[in-house]
Protein backbone atom coordinates (compact mmCIF):
# COMPACT_ATOMS: atom_id res chain seq x y z
CA UNK A 1 0.00 0.00 0.00
CA UNK A 2 1.37 3.42 -0.90
CA UNK A 3 2.37 5.79 1.87
CA UNK A 4 1.73 8.97 -0.11
CA UNK A 5 -1.79 9.85 -1.20
CA UNK A 6 -2.43 11.06 -4.77
CA UNK A 7 -3.03 14.49 -3.26
CA UNK A 8 0.34 14.39 -1.42
CA UNK A 9 1.96 13.39 -4.68
CA UNK A 10 0.40 16.24 -6.63
CA UNK A 11 1.43 18.82 -4.02
CA UNK A 12 4.96 17.47 -3.95
CA UNK A 13 5.17 17.39 -7.74
CA UNK A 14 4.28 21.07 -7.75
CA UNK A 15 7.08 21.85 -5.30
CA UNK A 16 9.50 19.70 -7.28
CA UNK A 17 8.83 21.87 -10.31
CA UNK A 18 11.42 24.18 -8.74
CA UNK A 19 14.14 21.53 -8.59
CA UNK A 20 17.38 22.48 -10.31
CA UNK A 21 20.33 20.19 -9.72
CA UNK A 22 19.81 16.45 -9.38
CA UNK A 23 19.49 15.24 -5.83
CA UNK A 24 20.55 11.84 -4.61
CA UNK A 25 18.74 10.31 -1.67
CA UNK A 26 21.09 7.83 -0.03
CA UNK A 27 19.15 5.53 2.25
CA UNK A 28 20.80 3.42 4.91
CA UNK A 29 18.94 0.32 6.02
CA UNK A 30 19.68 -2.82 7.92
CA UNK A 31 17.89 -6.14 7.68
CA UNK A 32 17.96 -7.05 11.37
CA UNK A 33 17.58 -3.95 13.51
CA UNK A 34 14.49 -1.84 12.85
CA UNK A 35 13.67 -3.87 9.74
CA UNK A 36 10.05 -2.66 9.47
CA UNK A 37 11.05 0.96 9.88
CA UNK A 38 13.82 0.58 7.31
CA UNK A 39 11.40 -0.98 4.84
CA UNK A 40 8.90 1.80 5.41
CA UNK A 41 11.65 4.41 5.07
CA UNK A 42 12.84 2.91 1.78
CA UNK A 43 9.31 2.82 0.42
CA UNK A 44 8.69 6.44 1.38
CA UNK A 45 11.92 7.62 -0.21
CA UNK A 46 11.23 5.70 -3.41
CA UNK A 47 7.70 7.15 -3.61
CA UNK A 48 9.08 10.66 -3.19
CA UNK A 49 11.89 10.13 -5.68
CA UNK A 50 9.42 8.84 -8.26
CA UNK A 51 7.84 12.28 -8.37
CA UNK A 52 10.76 13.88 -10.20
CA UNK A 53 13.31 12.65 -12.68
CA UNK A 54 15.90 14.83 -10.96
CA UNK A 55 15.81 12.55 -7.94
CA UNK A 56 17.75 9.36 -7.54
CA UNK A 57 17.75 6.77 -4.76
CA UNK A 58 20.62 4.64 -3.54
CA UNK A 59 19.92 2.09 -0.82
CA UNK A 60 22.87 0.96 1.24
CA UNK A 61 23.26 -1.39 4.15
CA UNK A 62 24.75 0.00 7.34
CA UNK A 63 26.78 -3.13 8.00
CA UNK A 64 27.79 -4.16 4.50
CA UNK A 65 28.46 -0.63 3.27
CA UNK A 66 30.20 0.43 6.44
CA UNK A 67 32.78 2.60 4.67
CA UNK A 68 30.11 4.57 2.86
CA UNK A 69 28.22 4.94 6.16
CA UNK A 70 31.34 6.20 7.90
CA UNK A 71 32.00 8.55 5.03
CA UNK A 72 28.58 10.09 5.57
CA UNK A 73 28.88 9.94 9.35
CA UNK A 74 25.80 7.70 9.53
CA UNK A 75 25.69 5.27 12.45
CA UNK A 76 22.00 4.52 12.92
CA UNK A 77 19.14 3.30 10.76
CA UNK A 78 16.92 4.12 9.07
CA UNK A 79 18.83 7.11 7.73
CA UNK A 80 18.55 9.34 4.67
CA UNK A 81 21.32 11.52 3.27
CA UNK A 82 20.05 14.30 1.02
CA UNK A 83 22.84 15.08 -1.40
CA UNK A 84 22.70 17.78 -4.05
CA UNK A 85 25.61 19.03 -6.13
CA UNK A 86 27.64 18.16 -3.06
CA UNK A 87 26.98 16.69 0.37
CA UNK A 88 25.64 19.64 2.34
CA UNK A 89 25.52 17.63 5.57
CA UNK A 90 21.79 17.02 5.62
CA UNK A 91 20.71 13.85 7.41
CA UNK A 92 17.40 12.36 8.51
CA UNK A 93 17.25 9.62 11.10
CA UNK A 94 14.00 7.74 11.42
CA UNK A 95 11.14 7.56 8.93
CA UNK A 96 10.36 11.21 8.12
CA UNK A 97 6.59 11.24 8.49
CA UNK A 98 4.41 14.09 9.77
CA UNK A 99 6.36 17.22 10.66
CA UNK A 100 9.62 15.84 9.34
CA UNK A 101 8.13 14.97 5.98
CA UNK A 102 7.76 18.60 4.97
CA UNK A 103 11.33 19.12 6.18
CA UNK A 104 12.46 16.31 3.89
CA UNK A 105 10.75 17.92 0.89
CA UNK A 106 12.24 21.31 1.83
CA UNK A 107 15.67 19.71 2.23
CA UNK A 108 15.44 18.15 -1.21
CA UNK A 109 14.44 21.49 -2.69
CA UNK A 110 17.20 23.49 -1.05
CA UNK A 111 19.82 20.82 -1.80
CA UNK A 112 18.73 20.97 -5.42
CA UNK A 113 18.74 24.75 -5.82
CA UNK A 114 21.73 25.25 -3.53
CA UNK A 115 20.00 28.46 -2.48
CA UNK A 116 19.07 28.59 1.19
CA UNK A 117 15.97 30.65 1.99
CA UNK A 118 17.80 32.70 4.59
CA UNK A 119 18.15 36.41 5.17
CA UNK A 120 21.32 38.03 3.83
CA UNK A 121 22.44 38.84 7.35
CA UNK A 122 22.15 35.17 8.28
CA UNK A 123 24.13 34.03 5.26
CA UNK A 124 26.84 36.59 6.00
CA UNK A 125 27.06 35.49 9.62
CA UNK A 126 27.29 31.83 8.62
CA UNK A 127 30.05 32.64 6.15
CA UNK A 128 32.04 33.93 9.12
CA UNK A 129 31.88 30.70 11.11
CA UNK A 130 35.30 29.56 12.27
CA UNK A 131 34.34 26.18 13.65
CA UNK A 132 31.90 23.43 12.71
CA UNK A 133 28.27 23.53 13.72
CA UNK A 134 26.24 20.40 14.30
CA UNK A 135 22.49 21.03 14.47
CA UNK A 136 20.25 18.23 15.70
CA UNK A 137 16.49 18.68 15.48
CA UNK A 138 14.30 16.22 17.36
CA UNK A 139 10.69 15.85 16.31
CA UNK A 140 7.88 13.29 16.29
CA UNK A 141 5.46 12.20 13.58
CA UNK A 142 2.35 13.65 15.24
Amino acid sequence: MAILTPQNEQEIRNVFGQLKDPVKLVVFSQSLAAADLCAQNEQLVREVAALSDKLGVEVLNLAIDRERAEGYGVDQVPAIVVEGARDYGIRFYGVPLGYEFSNLIDAILVASTGEPALAEATKTALAGLTSDVDIKVFSTPT
Partner: protein, 64 residues
Amino acid sequence: MAVASERVRSTAIEATEFPELSRAYQVMAVPKVVINDRVQFEGALPEPEFLGAVLKASASDAER
Protein backbone atom coordinates in the same frame (compact mmCIF):
# COMPACT_ATOMS: atom_id res chain seq x y z
CA MET B 1 21.83 26.57 7.11
CA ALA B 2 23.61 23.37 6.14
CA VAL B 3 23.40 24.40 2.50
CA ALA B 4 24.51 27.95 3.30
CA SER B 5 27.72 26.86 5.02
CA GLU B 6 30.07 23.93 4.62
CA ARG B 7 30.70 24.07 8.35
CA VAL B 8 27.07 23.40 9.22
CA ARG B 9 25.66 19.90 9.41
CA SER B 10 21.96 19.36 9.98
CA THR B 11 20.46 16.16 11.35
CA ALA B 12 16.73 15.59 11.82
CA ILE B 13 15.95 12.84 14.32
CA GLU B 14 12.61 11.14 14.78
CA ALA B 15 12.53 11.03 18.58
CA THR B 16 10.21 8.06 19.07
CA GLU B 17 12.36 5.83 16.86
CA PHE B 18 15.51 6.68 18.77
CA PRO B 19 14.52 6.63 22.45
CA GLU B 20 18.06 6.28 23.75
CA LEU B 21 19.23 9.27 21.80
CA SER B 22 16.17 11.22 22.93
CA ARG B 23 16.93 10.28 26.53
CA ALA B 24 20.58 11.23 26.15
CA TYR B 25 19.55 14.68 24.97
CA GLN B 26 16.65 14.88 27.43
CA VAL B 27 14.09 15.44 24.73
CA MET B 28 10.79 16.03 26.46
CA ALA B 29 9.01 18.34 24.07
CA VAL B 30 9.43 18.67 20.32
CA PRO B 31 10.70 20.17 18.26
CA LYS B 32 13.92 20.36 20.23
CA VAL B 33 17.08 21.74 18.71
CA VAL B 34 20.54 20.91 20.03
CA ILE B 35 23.54 22.73 18.58
CA ASN B 36 27.06 21.37 19.05
CA ASP B 37 25.74 19.39 22.01
CA ARG B 38 25.82 22.56 24.08
CA VAL B 39 23.12 25.07 23.11
CA GLN B 40 19.55 23.84 23.06
CA PHE B 41 16.02 25.12 22.83
CA GLU B 42 12.52 23.79 22.38
CA GLY B 43 9.99 25.01 19.89
CA ALA B 44 10.59 26.98 16.73
CA LEU B 45 12.77 30.08 16.89
CA PRO B 46 12.61 32.95 14.41
CA GLU B 47 15.61 32.98 12.09
CA PRO B 48 17.62 35.75 13.83
CA GLU B 49 17.28 34.00 17.19
CA PHE B 50 18.16 30.64 15.65
CA LEU B 51 21.24 32.22 14.12
CA GLY B 52 22.08 33.69 17.54
CA ALA B 53 22.00 30.21 19.04
CA VAL B 54 24.21 28.87 16.25
CA LEU B 55 26.76 31.64 16.74
CA LYS B 56 26.72 31.19 20.51
CA ALA B 57 27.34 27.45 20.17
CA SER B 58 30.06 28.08 17.64
CA ALA B 59 31.77 30.78 19.70
CA SER B 60 31.94 28.53 22.77
CA ASP B 61 33.80 25.95 20.71
CA ALA B 62 36.13 28.47 19.09
CA GLU B 63 37.23 29.72 22.50
CA ARG B 64 38.48 26.29 23.55
